[in-house]
Symmetry: C2
Subunit: 298 residues, 2 copies
DNA sequence: TCTAATCTGTGAGAAAAACTCACATCCGAT
DNA sequence: ATCGGATGTGAGTTTTTCTCACAGATTAGA
């Protein structure tokens, strides 16, 4: 009835199949990456399961008996079907693109400049990147993983590779700093134009908290500032010299390096972290490789 | 290239196959005679091998994912081929007759009277009996086992079920004993007609040694005796009252029981034993069953 | 004929895999 | 609300499998 009714030990069948095909215990052992002794025992197990000799030990070699030959037919077919099916699935999985969703700002300012290198370093990944505005459900079918800044706790039913603590930094062009008194953070807040983003309403608060600035000073400064819908626009505004922006350091590291933006104060940790969130059922190996690459790069 | 190239763990594949077919971990576990936890772990192993979900955990049940369904096709076929092949071989082995070679005398005097009962007790054995005159090579293809009296040491490359020590006994008809002085063994040897067989030339020597009779007396007695080619003729001669025969006790137990033959002295062990000698590659299970039956019967 | 090379088989102990048990969790039905 | 029936999991145990080192046996060739 059931397919599995009193099947012999499967590993013994595999050893038999390999030995029958190779015509030698030693060759089969090599193929299976075990010692010949292991194969020899497996064959013994199988023969005692059936209660009959499957090989004739003739001299220093082996020959299939009539029963062995009969068994080989079906077992050989079965194993080739098995390996064919598994190989096909594996191939399909390897060929499938790995879809990463990523916030637009991070995508534009950090990931896209590195995409070529990423694809060169991890060609098997066949990375496909889509931009995820606002919140995107990582459980959606067409996304394997999401890159996002988020504060713990993270949902327990998803695996998350933590890549880097989120650090925010206040930046502006050199021109802005020249025209803005900024001996201290409080100075800056009192006179500068704050640029803010709707997607991270607490950013300035976190920064001023860390810098020990009075919340009232911040509230007043905000009155004079401007708010943008996306972080991306905020950064463009900062680059255009519209005021002082607050943003994760990774997004402005390049501009700071090149002198386009200047950050007078060190970056501040927010408690959140940039992480790679895996969709359930996603390939942990490929995601792990991606996470390792990202972590190295960050 | 090789069929076994990096196949997933086979037991995990079996668990997957059963689970996919049954649609439930619990049902699969029952079929495989393990706990559901064991199956659950195997599935996990397989999923992590492929790096993808094969089942979707939906509510209290499971559904195959697209990948799982793809895998099931090939794996299901493979396992059904496997179990079909194994079942066919097993069936063929069970249906094949078990051929036992047996010396003619033992066959005629002991085994044939019990054959019906043996076949009734062990119907799966499908016993076929052939007579083995003189020495018969148990390695011959058409014989699964040989029943024989032999003294140790036995060849190491054959398995031998020892059934019973050989015990020889001096027998004759009541008439013969009446006409032969037989207070002692020496008496008997001095006056009786010894019947001997060419196939067991040492039988009388072993007997007289055990009875403590002078070898010279035996030599003299032998002069007056007669020698038969086979044990079978020897026994016929004894039953006809031609003299005193020496034979394994099992061959004359029936006649002694019925009073046709009388054994004045207890049987003597020769050091040899009646054993079931297996041909290499013979079914140890069936042979074991036969040996157990024979041992019980003896 | 002896020797070296090349197989397979096996005993003992080590390593790895699989299993069980008991409990946790989660959904759906009474 | 709770119970029944399903899956998942941590810890520890049992079973299987493997390796290592050696033995026996056969073939090729000096």
């Amino acid at each position: 009835m059931s397919s599995a009714a009193s099947l012999p030990p499967l590993n013994a069948l595999r050893a038999f199949e390999a030995t029958a095909r190779c015509g030698s215990v030693t060759a089969a052992a090599e193929e299976l990456h075990v010692t010949h002794g292991a194969v020899s025992r497996q064959l013994r197990t199988l023969e005692s399961h059936f209660g009959t000799a499957l090989f004739e030990r003739v001299g220093r070699g082996l020959t299939l008996t009539a029963h062995g030959r009969e068994l080989q037919r079906s077992v050989g077919e079965a194993f080739s079907r098995l390996s064919e099916g598994c190989a096909t699935l594996k191939r399909r999985l390897d060929e499938a693109p790995f879809t990463l969703a990523c916030p637009g700002s991070l995508l534009a300012r950090w990931l896209i400049p590195r995409l070529d290198r990423l694809n060169a370093d991890l060609p098997a990944l066949r990375l496909r990147v889509i931009s995820s505005e606002h919140e995107l459900d990582p459980r959606r079918d067409d996304v394997d993983a999401t890159l996002r800044f988020a504060a713990p706790p993270w949902p327990a039913d998803l695996s998350v590779f933590t890549l880097r603590p989120e650090r925010i930094v206040a930046v502006a062009t050199p021109d802005v700093w020249r025209s803005t008194p900024s001996e201290t953070a409080a100075d800056m807040l009192a006179h500068g134009t704050l640029l803010d983003t709707a997607s991270r309403p607490q950013a300035w608060t976190q920064w001023t908290d860390a810098m020990g600035v009075d919340p009232e000073t911040l509230a007043a400064a905000r009155q004079r500032g401007r708010t943008f819908e996306h972080l991306y626009y905020l950064l463009e505004a900062a680059l255009s010299g519209l005021g002082v922006a607050i943003a994760p350091d990774v997004l402005v590291a390049g501009e700071i390096e090149r002198g386009q933006l200047v950050a007078p104060w060190p970056a501040v940790e927010t408690g959140a972290a940039l992480g790679l969130w895996l969709a359930p059922g996603a390939d942990e190996r490929r995601a792990g490789a991606l996470a390792a690459w990202l972590k190295r790069e960050l």
